[in-house]
Point group: C2
Chain length 117, copies 2
């Protein structure tokens, strides 16, 4: 028997990990340097467990690393995992430049179709 499958686990894929807006916010903040969990939660207006859970996902895909500092745990950025995403989207760069005329023609078609309604 074949059981149905759902979406791939977020923890296995960087694309999925950064699909969450709050996780993207965390990564942006961490560009300024390491931060403890509570500080992140406070600055982003989320609860401490919420921040911890997002950080766990980010850690599992390797986008952040953590370091014990006394009573606290400092999270820091490891942006290397973002490079494949950058390169993947970069593979489309010539398409979002090259195709302006084709797109313009398409937009004209839309306008015309709308007037004919």
């Amino acid at each position: 028997m074949m059981l149905p499958m759902a979406r791939a686990a977020t923890t296995s894929d960087v694309f999925n990990a950064i699909a969450e807006p709050q996780r993207r916010e965390i990564l942006l903040l961490l560009r300024a340097g390491e931060r403890p969990v509570t500080e992140l939660a406070q600055e982003l207006g989320m609860t401490q467990p919420g921040a911890s859970k997002h950080l766990r996902v980010l850690r599992e895909v390797g986008l952040v690393r953590d370091r014990k500092a006394g009573k606290q745990r400092l999270y820091g950025l490891d942006a290397r995992g973002l490079r494949p995403v950058h390169e993947w989207t970069g593979g489309f760069e010539r398409f979002w430049n090259e195709s302006f005329d084709r797109l313009d023609a398409y937009v004209q078609d839309l306008k015309q179709a709308r007037q004919e309604e």
Copy 2:
């Protein structure tokens, strides 16, 4: 009363739309030019309804556009929506270059800490 919210709808966000591996495959294929649904489904080894559903998501975030061609419906790439993703990840470029020494230092710390156990 406050009802809980789940993940943001995939149709509202390009990041979410490209979180799906099969949707990324579709986009890659469309770089070679417009294709009808059945051809996409066949080349990617998925069912026709499966392809249609993924194409619908991609259309709703604006990454593909469709055009009627007789009995068929041709899907074409509109890569402009990928540009924000490229730029967002690009904002981390200096971190996946610059931080090699910091990462080295971090690895050294780990080794040292391990020896002190």
